[in-house]
């Protein structure tokens, strides 16, 4: 089966600019997650969707981050405006249902200048 697809792989922007990341989960996976991984740290959950509804966004900085999952398939994560501390790898993951192992994409590496 095809894995989780993410784009772009790399993005360089200046602080205060906006950026968007795209994720296509494994076909049939109802649950989708966005994680932020800062260098030297483990992935940190930002938001979790069940189909097209938000299950948990308690760690999403809502003043600058937003995410949506239209039609319960693809998802986008947006940062506006970006800050220097947002430099990280943004990982998307999906699972068949909640409680099943999550499968990760290769991530988008974001660098803020």
């Amino acid at each position: 089966e095809a894995g989780v697809a993410q784009s772009p792989r790399y993005k360089i922007i200046e602080k205060r600019q906006s950026v968007a990341f795209w994720c296509n989960p494994i076909s049939g996976h109802a649950t989708l997650y966005w994680y932020q991984q800062i260098l030297g740290q483990g992935p940190k959950l930002l938001i979790q969707f069940q189909n097209n509804g938000v299950v948990d966004d308690s760690q999403l900085p809502k003043d600058r981050f937003s995410a949506e999952r239209l039609k319960g398939v693809d998802s986008t994560l947006k940062i506006q405006p970006a800050k220097l501390e947002d430099s990280a790898v943004y990982l998307c993951a999906s699972s068949l249902v909640r409680g099943q192992p999550q499968h990760f994409g290769d991530g988008t590496r974001l660098s803020i200048l």
């Binding site: 992935p43 979790q48 192992p101 990760f104």
Partner: protein, 113 residues
């Protein structure tokens, strides 16, 4: 305040020998435990999991042990192979109906031929 700790940032093991990676957690409510492997520039790959009702789960060369009283889990790789060289993340979740995963910072395993 780290809820999941991997106290060894790195580990070197000779090919053919056993690799033991350790992970400690603080919240006794966690009931779902996983190990992920990550190669550079790729997303984490699910390796093996264990639920709190078991104390051991085995899959080929990989075995995960869970000691609930000590809030400790470990991953054993026997025999270790050069292709096992990667960063290994421990992840824990569950409890009170939550499926959110919390990751450790990872341990970089180097298997020397």
């Amino acid at each position: 305040d780290q809820q999941v700790k991997q106290n060894s940032p790195s580990l070197s093991v000779q090919e053919g020998r056993i690799s033991i990676l350790n992970c400690d957690y603080t919240n006794s409510m966690f009931d779902y435990f996983l190990w992920y492997k990550k190669y550079p520039a790729e997303g984490p790959t699910f390796l093996i999991s264990i639920s709190s009702i078991k104390d051991k789960n085995e899959d080929g060369r990989f075995t995960v042990f869970l000691n609930k009283s000590a809030k400790h889990l470990s991953l054993h790789i026997v025999p270790s192979q050069p292709g096992d060289s990667a960063v290994y993340f421990c992840a824990v979740g569950g409890g009170a109906g939550s499926y959110q995963l919390t990751f450790g910072k990872g341990t970089k395993l180097s298997v020397i031929p």
